[in-house]
Symmetry: C2
Subunit: 142 residues, 2 copies
DNA sequence: TATTTTATTGAGATTGAGTCTCAGAAAATA
DNA sequence: TATTTTCTGAGACTCAATCTCAATAAAATA
């Protein structure tokens, strides 16, 4: 709502208008800490009674990703997943190949080694993907 | 050709027949150490005069990936890439976001930390993806 | 080897996540 | 309010990948 509202700030920066649909998509993304796909966001909005189209959901998420309010994850199952970045530092993901549960991790040693590898090649690190596919504790005993 | 020919061994294990098309796809994959997509493999075969269909290229690569003769990479550009695993130990990838050049790296410290992270959660590591997107040395000065 | 059986192949249809189009709706501007 | 500009939504479209099924090739059998 305020002048520093991150959605409005992003829209201003992109020269885009503030709309109910864009607000609703952003609200829905912040409603959970899950890693949901576009269809789940779309259905959550529709089921809550809000009229919005898939096209607008995709378009709005693009803007949010571009402006660092949302992170896009590709876990290899054919549809991108999204998580909001409010109060969320960088982290990577650990995915159960059986039940699909997603956990998060950060490791300073790994981050440091990454930088070193890139530096030694004379390159400049832009972003990285680090995903650990596992069988989780629960799925092992099941 | 021999009894220990890895393609024939894989086909035997899967209960599949040995065919000219399957041999040709496997040969083409071993012809370079590049990270090519299915269309590039397909076109290389066609351009060399060998008649094969896209369907067979995709189907054969699936068998090779399943049997650890080929590694499948998803680098986020929408089409999977493949590399043969002959004389090739595990490694991860460093991709220039500008020119697309792919370099390989391995880091024992990272591999060890990965195992530790997974172990502490009581999970079992199946596979991992670690990709560093960079601007390479050449692209920085260009 | 010839015949029969079974798996493979290829051309093109299909799928599905994501993108695009464009007429109508909504917001900004005057 | 009237005019201009941007946004939205329904559905068409894209494209890598998968599927279909009649024709073909390999294996099994005689
Ligand atoms: Mn996360
Ligand atoms: Mn490689
Ligand atoms: Zn699990
Ligand atoms: Zn480069």
């Amino acid at each position: 709502m305020s002048f520093f509202d991150p959605l409005k700030k992003a829209l201003r920066k992109e020269g885009l208008r503030y709309t109910q649909q864009r607000q609703a998509v952003w609200d829905e993304l912040r409603a959970t800490d899950d890693h949901r796909d576009a269809e789940e966001i779309y259905l959550a909005l529709r089921n809550s009674g809000f009229k919005v189209s898939r096209a607008t959901v995709y378009r709005t998420i693009d803007v949010l990703v571009k402006n660092n309010l949302v992170r896009k994850l590709k876990l290899g199952d054919g549809h991108a997943r999204f998580e909001h970045k409010v109060d969320s530092a960088h982290h990577d993901h650990l995915i159960c190949a059986q039940c699909g549960k997603i956990e998060e991790f950060v490791d300073d040693v790994i981050e440091t080694r990454q930088n070193k590898i890139v530096e030694e090649l004379g390159s400049k690190l832009i972003r990285h993907i680090h995903q650990l596919f596992v069988i989780c504790k629960e799925c092992q005993t099941a």
